[in-house]
């Protein structure tokens, strides 16, 4: 630890942790470390985002050379009041500031970590909190306001409209955005005066062996890939419904291959059409992009979308939801894929992408060019350090 050290503060951290914001923080911290910048991770002992039970021992460990300080987190208090408040927030109801505070205290907090932040604030250059929706970020930002930066990973959801987050965003020294649409959303929700810079995440080209993935999982012919958490919020159900209808309507021989967690119940008559591979390691994930005919990300709640960047890196085209400002922005800028708004546009976009191999290839190539030019690590690290230097101004 030194006065130049940048501390990243995610609610959970580790090689086994799956999640967009967590991956972004880990990659950014490791890249800064590789470039000789002093970085540290301040996090909790939890791994499971549902129970927040202690998984790792508290103390110091090193992951890929980066020092990780783990603090005990408070166990989640899921009482009636918390559950009811969460339900009311989800329904978009107005909640008093006091109830909001009570609720956020029960979305993973660590008193040990907040104490450490207060006592050691002079030992660090900056504290970078991510993502916005956790007690560690809320309480941490308020503890070290003048050195706090937030990578909010924000999308338009009822939780983002709470007044406690407006207060938190205004308390931080700077906001680090993942994309322009996210910056616009933050300014729309919390005021035009929000300071910030778009940084995003860096990528390096990698090699992938699609044939290996196909052989390993016994896949033949065309398949559409869905990679990531399966959740109503991620529109996984919508994709499954559209895909089943597409196969039923066209009789086409195409599969939907899903990687990630949690498991989904596949409709009985589509058990040969939807393949749930489950969680895979990094190598399988990369190979899956190369093996897929194209990738589909139907989510409308994205602040960056790592999966479409990775798919583009191996030259795969992407199909995204037109109502997601962020993924559509990437597709429009790169011309690396198509978007759909409803079932008819999904049906036609599927036809175009499955039928035209040449068009698919050129879209994948344009996507790759976009990622390599807009999200190379040199550029990302430079923007990140500039964001810290000017407080995001």
């Amino acid at each position: 630890m030194g006065a130049e050290t940048v501390a990243f503060v995610p609610p959970r951290y580790g090689l086994e942790v799956i999640g967009g914001a967590e991956t972004l923080v880990r990659c950014l911290a490791e890249e800064l470390h590789r470039r000789g910048r002093p970085v540290e991770i301040l996090t909790t002992c939890a791994i499971d985002p549902y129970t927040w039970k202690t998984h790792y021992p508290p103390g110091i460990e090193h992951i890929h050379g980066v020092t990780v300080r783990r603090f005990h987190n408070q166990s989640r208090n899921v009482d009636r009041k918390v559950a009811r408040t969460q339900q009311e927030i989800s329904e978009g109801k107005s909640i008093s500031r006091r109830r909001q505070e009570y609720w956020i205290r029960n979305v993973v907090t660590s008193e040990d970590m907040v104490r450490y932040l207060r006592e050691n604030r002079d030992g660090y250059r900056a504290f970078v909190f991510a993502p916005y929706l956790f007690g560690t970020t809320y309480q941490g930002v308020l503890a070290v306001k003048d050195k706090a930066y937030i990578i909010p990973c924000l999308h338009d959801e009822p939780f983002a409209h709470l007044s406690i987050f407006r207060k938190m965003m205004h308390s931080a020294r700077g906001i680090i955005f993942n994309s322009e649409p996210e910056m616009e959303l933050v300014r729309r929700l919390y005021g035009k005066g929000m300071r910030g810079r778009v940084v995003g995440m860096g990528f390096e080209p990698f090699t992938a062996d699609g044939r290996r993935f196909r052989e390993k999982y016994g896949l033949e012919g065309d398949f559409v890939l869905y990679a990531g958490r399966r959740d109503v919020a991620k529109n996984t159900f919508l994709l499954m419904r559209y895909f089943c209808n597409y196969v039923h309507n066209t009789g086409r021989d195409v599969k939907l291959v899903m990687i990630g967690e949690p498991r989904v119940n596949i409709p009985y008559s589509f058990r040969d059409v939807i393949v749930d591979v489950g969680p895979v390691d990094e190598r399988d994930k990369r190979d899956s992009y190369a093996a897929a005919t194209f990738l589909c990300n139907p989510s409308v709640q994205e602040s960056f979308s790592i999966v479409i960047m990775e798919a583009w890196l191996v030259g795969s085209a992407c199909l995204v939801h037109g109502d997601c400002a962020v993924t559509r922005h990437h597709v429009e800028r790169s011309e690396g894929g198509l978007w759909f708004r409803d079932y008819p546009t999904f049906h036609e976009a599927m036809d175009v992408l499955l039928e035209s191999e040449g068009l698919r290839g050129s879209m994948g190539a344009r996507g790759r060019e976009y990622v390599l030019s807009a999200f190379c690590w040199d550029r990302v690290v430079e923007s990140f350090l500039a964001a810290l230097d000017d407080g995001g101004a």
């Binding site: 086994e16 290996r212 959740d231 499954m240 989904v264 008559s269 036609e348």
Partner: protein, 375 residues
């Protein structure tokens, strides 16, 4: 006009044809125009999955699921979440926050409620004590069940038993210090040896005994913890990622055990080629594997459920030479000391007869081979 029923496999389909270099907006405009044109034709049938299932299977065979909830909820996560609630509510007591709506009677109502609670408490506590005891037992059983399900699922995801489970939990690891010490002695004392897939750290311990500097690389966090408890130097990272991140010609010595015997065979090729790049000029790689020609070697290897295959020493040698190593020498090793009475089962006399010599050789053959390759 084309309907959903008409567009079946093998029949001509009306597909939008576009040039390979078509721009995004041109393609999207074509899609929108096509949708506007064909929407009326009834091609875009968008049914709920339940209705689709009925269409395909008939009413009787459809399991009535909640279309969103049941398709998406992972039962294990749901159970874990409900368990959180159960923990909160299992500790029942008579305490309940007392309040009343604002008004002139508020203090009086609160007072009455407090009095009632005060008088009821001893009676309620008698009832609640039994319920509390029962709830506590039930929550404990549920916690145990969730943990069992989680472990079982993790095993299933890994496609079988992992090394930690096999070696530590099932106690199937047999490690002979003599062999590892012999392998450690093959490295020069002043140069660091990197042990990829360090496992339980047996080779690192052997290095310490032989005065060699060694660094373990392991991706299983439970095995890493075991090494750390023994104060061994170990990095928590996947060995292939570690190799990838090493600068070219930067590793003085590398030791691996059971190379190619687990996981995908392609990893063997990838690892050997990566080693050829990352090991420094004149650096050494040592590999200790089960000998497939040895009866006892094969038996011992497959006692470990994580071993999938054996690699022949000639194949291994050829792979290293092909990858660019200057020399690769294979030596059969055993390191077995014998039983309590000094005898070994394979020393038992083999009756003379046809094939007896070959049987004796297979039984008495060394169980391992040690390959030493130099850049």
């Amino acid at each position: 006009m084309m309907s959903a029923e008409e567009s079946r496999p093998g029949e001509p389909r009306d597909i939008l044809s576009l040039p390979d270099d078509a721009g995004l907006h041109a393609v999207m405009a074509e899609i929108e125009a096509r949708v506007a044109r064909r929407r009326e034709e009834g091609i875009y049938r968008d049914l709920e999955i339940q209705d689709l299932e009925r269409d395909r299977l008939g009413e009787a065979k459809v399991i009535d699921l909640d279309p969103v909830h049941d398709l998406f909820t992972d039962p294990l996560q749901e159970l874990s979440f409900m368990l959180q609630f159960a923990r909160q509510f299992s500790d029942i007591n008579t305490y309940y926050p007392i309040g009343a709506r604002p008004g002139p009677l508020k203090p009086f109502i609160i007072l009455v409620k407090r009095i009632i609670r005060r008088f009821m408490t001893p009676y309620m506590e008698v009832v609640f004590a039994k319920q509390r005891a029962f709830n506590e037992k039930l929550v404990r059983s549920l916690e145990a069940m969730v943990e069992i399900l989680r472990v079982e699922r993790e095993r299933d995801y890994r496609g079988g038993v992992d090394r930690y489970t096999a070696w530590v939990e099932m106690g199937l690891r047999r490690q002979e210090a003599g062999l590892l010490e012999e392998a450690a002695r093959r490295f020069e004392p002043e140069r660091q040896v990197v042990n990829l897939y360090a496992g339980t750290g047996d080779f690192l311990e052997a290095c310490a005994r032989e005065g060699r500097k060694a660094l373990g690389v392991e991706d299983d966090s439970r095995l890493v913890s075991m090494c750390q408890e023994k104060f061994l130097k170990v990095q928590h990272v996947h060995p292939l990622d570690f190799l990838k991140s090493c600068p070219v010609e930067s590793l003085p010595g590398v030791f691996m055990q059971d190379l190619g015997e687990r996981d995908d065979t392609r990893e063997l090729l990838w690892t050997v080629n990566a080693l050829a790049d990352k090991v420094e000029k004149d650096g050494k790689v040592a590999v200790l594997n089960h000998h497939p020609a040895s009866f006892r070697g094969v038996e011992e290897a497959f006692r470990d459920p994580t071993v999938l295959r054996l690699v022949h020493p000639d194949t291994m040698r050829a792979l290293f030479l092909e990858a660019g190593f200057r020399e690769a020498v294979v030596e059969a090793v055993d390191g077995r000391q014998g039983g309590e009475d000094g005898t070994r089962p394979e020393d038992a006399e083999i009756p003379a007869g046809e094939g007896a010599a070959a049987l004796a050789e297979a039984l008495r053959g060394p169980r391992y081979f040690l390959l030493e390759a130099r850049r």
